[in-house]
Amino acid sequence: MNNAAFLVIAIVTLAGALAAATLPKLIHAALCLIVAFVGLAAFFFFLGAEFVGLVQLFVYVGAVAVLIVFTILLTRRDVGKPDKFNWGGIVVAVAVFGGLLWAILKTPSVAIAAAQIPPLTVKRIGEVLLTNYVWPLQCVGLLLTAALIGALVLVMEEKRR
């Protein structure tokens, strides 16, 4: 079942991502992106990192996606017309993928299976977050505040004099 589920998740994710990258309509692309993110979250669940998966859902689906669609809404005039597609990019992307694939398959040390581990509880993450990672946490908090303010300042209507 696991393999089947894995397969399904992988296909959904990659398909969503591919759609997000190639669909001509921006809004569709954004929705497909969400599908890809949900798939990714499923990956995380699958890998035993439930919390990361939830965070992924929470942040990407709940926040980032909403932001993207809002932006689409606000830049509506441009969104109406379908986007041109630059085929030159495909070559590069495929080439990079080829390179990466080759590198991964060539490296024997990554062809390993996962060990059995006790599930990673939220409590454990919380403890680690507030002990070993407390400074990064503060920094991220600061960063988020700064980003919040920065975003606000950027999109604020310029005062008319």
Binding site: N86, G88, G89, V92, A93, A95, V96, G99, L100, W102, A103, K106
Partner: protein, 657 residues
């Protein structure tokens, strides 16, 4: 022994001080209230002084003091205190009594002044400070009060602030006395570091007591001389006497109080107070410091008397007479006649105040005219003033028997005969007596005798409030003579700490006749010369050069102006110039040097480095033009480049492994 008054002696200066402060808080329109407050303060002070006087009579040489800690620095406590002994007690009574008379007189004299209240505030303040000087048992406290006295004097001389001459005189007085005080200050420092205490009496540990004097050793002479500097400044001794005649710019009661009776006497008092320092290590009552005192005193006495002969300002004559008398007192102290000096000081306080107040009365009557050449014939117009003035003149001239001044002067002359070093002071003093009688006669004749002149036509007798103090002072100066006669030298013994005995036989002494003869000679000579005075002085007609020399105060002021003051001013200007040009110039030179290096290096930059850089820039620019073609400004181009680079890295990795 410890009487109540000893611990509370501070009340005597404190009461006038309180009066002064409360007057300052008064509205300037409350003139009467101010005067009443001041006079009341003075009366209370007088009563307290009398109360303080009483215990000193208990036993000869009675002395009590009260010391306390002013402040503690580090581990050392700085103690000050007050002392009550015959010297202080007598001075207290004299000052408060004379002060009271002058206060009352001022009520009449200053009645029209718009700054009436301020005047009384200053007067009370002065009185407080002076009383502080008298009771001090610490050289430091004495110095503090001393300076405050100086301040009060400064304020009072410059009381008529809108008169530039008054302001100048005040400034001169302050600075001149300050010069003396600098010496005094150094003396204090020396004394303090030498003996470790500034208390006069402290149960055997004071600086005037044996322990202190022992600690001080040989340096006592220098300390004494330095302290004497202060006395010279304050008491108007040569060469710092120049301020005193100028100080007559102040209101007349001020002249009476400060520049005749009390403050100028403070110098004499100071010497008397620290006399043990002067006499430390004396051989036959002679020490170098005392010799200096005598010399200064003699010079001052004679010189001032001579100058007084050639003055026309009624107050200036009295001022020089004061200087002269102070010199006399100094001589007395110097030759060992401490009691005589102080006696003369006290007697002088009364009669000189009397004379000044009389002069004030005359000035008041003559519409503030002070030139004696414009007066004359006031005898009938101002009878009370005339009579009291005459009593004062007798006192000053040294007429014996009924006038205290006569007895004390004789006492001094007596003392000078005992001086071993030289008899010159004695003879010069005799000359001084003649001169004193001479210039006083001259003044009397100018002012009260002869014809009426310009200012005296509308002259009138002063009101009661002014004549009453005159009579009072005249009475005092006569009554005091009872305690001064050689037959019953009570004051002498009191001051010296000996019991007084009555010996009628001692009344008549040879010196009495000498003195009498000299005074008579003086007065007679005066009468001869001046009996027919007119606008010009007879002496001036006879000896114009000499007279001019004396009239312009022996050109001492000019001399000082040219030398001391001129030099210091030049020093000041030099310092300023040095500051602006030399020191600052050095800094600017350094700055200039730095700037030069800066310019130099900038030049080098321009020529050497820049040229090379220019070349390089040219090359770079060409390359840049080439590169800029790559920069489409489009993000995706850059992204693509990045991706291709990743690819390249991958390939590199593959090739390497």
């Amino acid at each position: 022994m410890n009487h109540w008054i000893v611990a509370n002696l501070w009340l005597i200066p404190a009461i006038p001080l309180a009066a002064a402060l409360s007057i300052l808080c008064l509205n300037s329109s409350r003139g009467k209230g101010a005067a009443a407050l001041a006079v009341l303060g003075q009366i209370v002070a007088l009563v307290m002084a009398v109360i303080a006087f009483v215990p000193t009579l208990q036993a000869p040489g009675w002395r009590a003091f009260h010391n306390f800690t002013w402040f503690t620095f580090g581990e050392q406590a700085l103690r000050i205190g007050w002392v009550l002994d015959p010297l202080a007690a007598a001075m207290l009574v004299m000052i408060t009594l004379v002060g009271l008379c002058i206060f009352v007189f001022s009520v009449g004299y200053m009645a029209d002044d718009k700054n009436f209240t301020r005047f009384f505030a200053y007067l009370s303040f002065f009185s407080a400070a002076m009383l502080g000087v008298v009771i001090a048992n610490s050289l430091l406290l004495l110095f503090v009060c001393w300076e405050l006295v100086g301040l009060a004097s400064y304020l009072l001389i410059g009381f008529w602030i809108d008169k530039p001459s008054a302001a100048a005189a005040a400034k001169k007085a302050f600075i001149t006395t300050r010069i003396g005080d600098i010496g005094f200050f150094l003396g204090i420092l020396w004394l303090y570091s030498g003996s470790g205490t500034l208390l006069f009496y402290d149960n055997g540990h004071g600086c005037l007591e044996n322990a202190g004097l022992l600690l001080l050793g040989a340096s006592a002479t220098f300390v004494a001389l330095l302290i004497f500097c202060g006395a010279v400044g304050k008491s108007g001794q040569f060469p710092l006497h120049v301020w005193l005649p100028d100080a007559m710019e102040g209101p007349t009661p001020v002249s009476a109080l400060i520049h005749a009776a009390t403050m100028v006497a403070a110098g004499v008092f100071l010497v008397a107070r620290v006399y043990p320092l002067f006499s430390a290590g004396a051989i036959d009552g002679v020490t170098p410091s005392l010799t200096v005192v005598v010399s200064i005193g003699v010079i001052t006495a004679v010189m001032a008397a001579l100058i007084a002969l050639a003055q026309f300002d009624i107050k200036r004559i009295l001022a020089y007479s004061t200087v002269s008398q102070l010199g006399l007192m100094m001589v007395s102290l110097g030759v060992g006649g401490v009691a005589a000096g102080i006696m003369h000081l006290i007697a002088h306080g009364f009669f000189k105040a009397l004379l000044f107040l009389g002069a004030g009365s005359v000035i008041h009557g003559c519409d503030h005219e002070q030139d004696i050449r414009k007066m004359g014939g006031l005898r009938w117009l101002m009878p009370v003033t005339f009579l009291t003035y005459a009593i004062g003149m007798m006192n000053l001239s040294g007429v014996p028997f009924f006038f205290s001044g006569g007895w004390t002067k004789e006492e001094i002359l007596q003392a000078t005969t005992h001086w071993h070093v030289s008899h010159l002071p004695h003879y010069l003093m005799l000359v001084g007596v003649v001169l004193t009688a001479l210039y006083m006669t001259r003044q009397m004749i100018y002012v009260f005798f002869g014809n009426k002149r310009a200012a005296s036509t509308h002259a009138h007798e002063s009101p009661r409030v002014m004549t009453m103090p005159l009579m009072m002072l005249a009475g005092c100066s006569i009554v005091l003579s009872i305690a001064l006669t050689p037959a019953w030298p009570w004051l002498h013994s009191y001051l010296n700490g000996e019991p007084a005995h009555f010996h009628i036989a001692r009344l008549i002494q040879p010196m009495l006749f000498v003195s009498l003869a000299l005074v008579a000679a003086g007065i007679g000579l005066g009468w001869l010369i001046y009996r027919n005075v007119a606008e010009t002085d007879p002496v001036e007609q006879a000896q114009p050069a000499l007279f001019h020399f004396l009239e312009s105060k022996m050109w001492l002021d000019e001399l000082y102006d040219w030398t001391v003051i001129g030099l210091s001013k030049m020093a000041a200007r030099l310092s300023d110039w040095m500051d602006r040009n030399v020191w600052d110039g050095l800094v600017r030179a350094f700055a200039g040097l730095g700037q030069f290096f800066g310019i130099f290096s900038a030049d080098f930059d321009e020529r050497g480095i820049n040229a090379g850089v220019d070349e390089a820039t040219g090359g770079t620019r060409g390359l840049g033009r080439l590169m800029s073609a790559l920069h489409s400004g489009q993000i995706q181009t850059y992204l693509r480049a990045a991706a291709v680079s990743v690819l390249a890295l991958l390939i590199l990795y593959a090739w390497l492994t």
